[in-house]
């Protein structure tokens, strides 16, 4: 028996089991403690509240949500609002970060200095302060909606946001849009095929008419088939607000701006470090091949830099996503804001926090998994 205990492998397994048992029992203890204390204090517990009527408005919402809907649907609306603003911010921040990161290494000293100031100003001040700044600028500097500035005919700017004419959207419009998206995929396939053909046969053929046809063909067919009516709704001045048209709200705008700018500064530094990690010889090689700087960057340097860029980029995306919870401060109804209201109307704080943690955890893990997959794809393949 003692010999078994001194066996290294047995001991290793024993420690693992003990560690797991320890963690599990602490978790169990905490959960039991919470539910016991809540019961002792007569505080209602459980997730039954999710099916009750929420009774408060959320705007904007991307799904059809009415105050008569359940708390569960209200929370879903909040989750979608969080995802929507984060996803847009990720796209914009990546583009902006790439541009600024390249500018940091530019040969032009003015551009280089400008990019330097941009990065340092944005990443050294807490995001929350920037959110207050952007929101404060929009709300305090722009006129109220009744004195809205008419930028162009039918385009109004005020401290309630931007209102533009909008097309009435019908299911047939959606079908045309889907056909257009299919066209993009088709065009990419056609182009790839033709390039492959050119490489293998060496015969040069004109590509663009075919690609263009693949791109627009399906959409044109759908257009003739479904004949979507084009009616445009113009914003009009009502008693309080501009009625009709599409409306970009200041809370959303300020949040998107804040998240995009602050994340782009971090991404710019990541891009810069990635580019610097590519050996000098690679640049020299592109010069000897006669590639210009843009082509060298696009075809040779950036693909190699990606390997260094992606792991920190994952962290940047994750923190951007989590930072979107600061929305609460400036009144954008994200998951946190909706959960706060829910917790207060039901008094069930433990459940509310648990739901929030679960949602943030699962979406963050999804982002990590996707980025890890992409990282593995672009990693150096050693053959």
């Amino acid at each position: 028996m003692t010999r078994l205990f001194y066996d290294l492998r047995v001991r290793a397994i024993l420690y693992q089991v003990l560690a797991v048992a320890f963690v599990a029992s602490v978790a169990w203890y905490l959960a039991a403690n919470v539910s016991q204390k809540l019961a002792e204090q007569n505080i209602v517990t459980g997730f039954g509240f999710l099916s009750r009527e929420a009774g408060f408005v959320i705007s904007p919402s991307f799904i059809d949500y009415k105050p008569t809907d359940s708390f569960a649907r209200a929370l879903l609306t909040g989750i979608l609002n969080t995802i929507f603003v984060s996803a847009l911010a990720v796209v914009f921040a990546t583009i902006l970060g790439l541009i600024v990161g390249v500018a940091r290494l530019s040969g032009n000293p003015l551009l280089r200095a400008l990019a330097f100031v941009y990065v340092e100003a944005l990443r050294n001040v807490p995001l929350l302060l920037y959110l207050f700044l952007w929101y404060g600028l929009i709300v305090n500097l722009l006129p109220p909606v009744r004195e809205a500035i008419e930028l162009m005919p039918h385009v109004f700017v005020s401290n309630s946001g931007v209102t533009i004419p909008a097309m009435n959207w019908t299911p047939s419009h959606t079908k045309v849009l889907l056909a257009l998206m299919a066209g993009v995929v088709l065009a990419m396939t056609v182009r790839r095929r033709m390039v492959a053909q050119r490489v293998s046969t060496g015969v040069e053929r004109r590509m663009w008419p075919w690609v263009l046809l693949a791109l627009l063909g399906p959409a044109l067919v759908a257009l003739l088939l479904f004949r979507p009516e084009i009616t445009i709704e113009y914003p009009e001045k009502g008693r309080f607000r501009l009625a009709g048209g599409a409306h970009l709200k200041p809370e959303f705008t300020a949040l998107l701006l804040g998240l995009t700018l602050s994340a782009s500064a971090g991404i710019a530094e990541t891009v810069r470090s990635g580019i610097l990690s590519v050996g000098r010889g690679q640049w020299d090689a592109t010069k000897s091949l006669g590639l210009d700087r843009g082509m060298a960057l696009r075809l040779v340097v950036l693909p190699q830099a990606l390997r260094v860029i992606i792991p920190p980029l994952t962290s940047a995306y994750l923190s951007l996503f989590k930072n979107s919870s600061l929305a609460t401060a400036i009144g954008y109804p994200d998951l946190v804001l909706v959960t706060n209201t829910t917790m207060n109307q039901t008094g069930q704080a433990v459940e509310g926090i648990a739901i929030m943690m679960l949602v943030y955890l699962s979406i963050s893990i999804t982002i990590s998994l996707f980025m890890n997959w992409y990282n593995a794809r672009v990693a150096l393949k050693e053959r």
């Binding site: 209602v44 008693r239 200041p250």
Partner: protein, 345 residues
């Protein structure tokens, strides 16, 4: 520090952590009074900023109506109204603050509702302020009633009853509106003042405080409709009936004092009064204080320290203050109001 056996390390950590958890499990003392006496002060959950109800004055001292409700409790317990430590709590964390024992009572413009009373493990004290939700709009919009607010944008605070009241009021009347919800009350006020919202809604008393801090208070009108009942009451934990009684009767002492025309200034002259109710209230005869576990002069101390209800109201939110509220339903029952103290007997 060599050769620490991993097993012992894990076991030691486990024991230490386990003991720590046991010790830190919130001890819900049945006797809040004992804890308060031992600490030497009352921990009072208040609004961070609400002019007239709880706000820091130019010397950094918190004043206001809600503050005075706490000071009355402090006077009853310690004979000194100033043994209060205020803990500013946002609307969103106020109940958790009380549940977890961070404060002894909540005196923070909190509306007494059925579900709050029955699902939070909390109890409400007496109604200290009869309020109702109102809507304020800029005067230049020329809105005369809430029914005209179709398609307007309304600024609201989260985690309050106001969000649901607004819906309850507008839905049956088929009025479409949009709400912008702010976590922070400064942002909420500012959004209204800058015109991001066409209207702002909260309890009427609170609207009066918002108007009091407006750049020009005359530019704003509170609409005539009261769209809900908002009985504001202090809140305590459910598990301590004695503490709840202390909070309840400290307040009633002020109401009874107004009814008996006892004020801060003249309370000493009443010590020789022949009126048996006055004698019982001020602890000249009987042993009401003992029943609460307090000093015989507890109510005398409340009146001497804080005053009667009228004094408290007028000092903080009355017509001569920037808040400028009239008593309305908060008059004594003898004057057509709703304030009514059970007898001190």
């Amino acid at each position: 520090m060599k050769n620490i056996k991993p097993f012992r390390l894990v076991a030691g950590l486990g024991v230490a952590l386990g003991l720590g958890l046991l010790a830190s499990a919130p001890a819900q003392a049945q006797a809040t009074l004992d804890a308060v006496k031992k600490r030497g002060k009352v921990l009072c959950g208040v609004s961070p900023v609400a002019a007239g109800f709880s706000f820091a004055d130019d010397k950094g001292v918190r004043r206001g109506f809600d503050q005075d409700v706490c000071r009355a409790v402090s006077a009853a317990v310690f004979g000194d109204p100033d043994k209060v430590e205020s803990v500013p709590l946002s609307t969103n964390v106020r109940f958790q603050g009380l549940q977890s024992g961070e404060v002894d009572l909540l005196s923070r413009q909190t509306t007494w509702t059925f579900s709050r009373d029955n699902s939070l493990g909390l109890d409400f004290g007496p109604i200290v302020f009869y309020d109702g939700q109102g809507i304020m709009v800029p005067a230049k919009l020329n809105v005369k009633s809430a029914g005209e607010l179709g398609s307007a944008v309304v600024c609201v605070l989260p985690g309050t009853t106001t969000q649901q009241n607004l819906e309850d009021y507008f839905r049956p009347r088929n009025i479409k509106y949009e709400a912008v919800v702010f976590e922070n009350s400064d942002e909420w006020r500012n959004a209204y003042f800058t015109g991001r919202c066409d209207a702002i809604t909260t309890d009427r008393s609170d609207l009066a405080s918002v108007r009091a801090v407006a750049p020009n208070p005359k530019d704003h009108v509170i609409l005539p409709e009261t769209i809900s009942k908002e009985p504001l009451a202090p809140v305590v934990r459910q598990n301590d009936a004695n503490w709840r009684d202390i909070v309840t009767w400290s307040f009633f002492a002020m109401v009874a004092a107004e009814e008996l025309k006892i004020t801060r200034a003249n309370v000493d002259t009443f010590l020789t009064s022949k009126d048996p109710e006055v004698q019982r209230l001020l602890g000249v005869s009987g042993d009401l204080g003992k029943m609460l576990g307090l000093d015989a002069k507890w109510a005398y101390n409340v009146i001497k320290g804080v005053g009667n209800y009228a004094e408290m109201f007028d000092r903080n939110v009355g017509p001569d203050t920037p808040i400028g509220l009239t008593r309305g339903p908060n008059k004594l029952w003898t004057e057509g109001g709703l304030l009514y103290s059970p007898p001190f007997r």
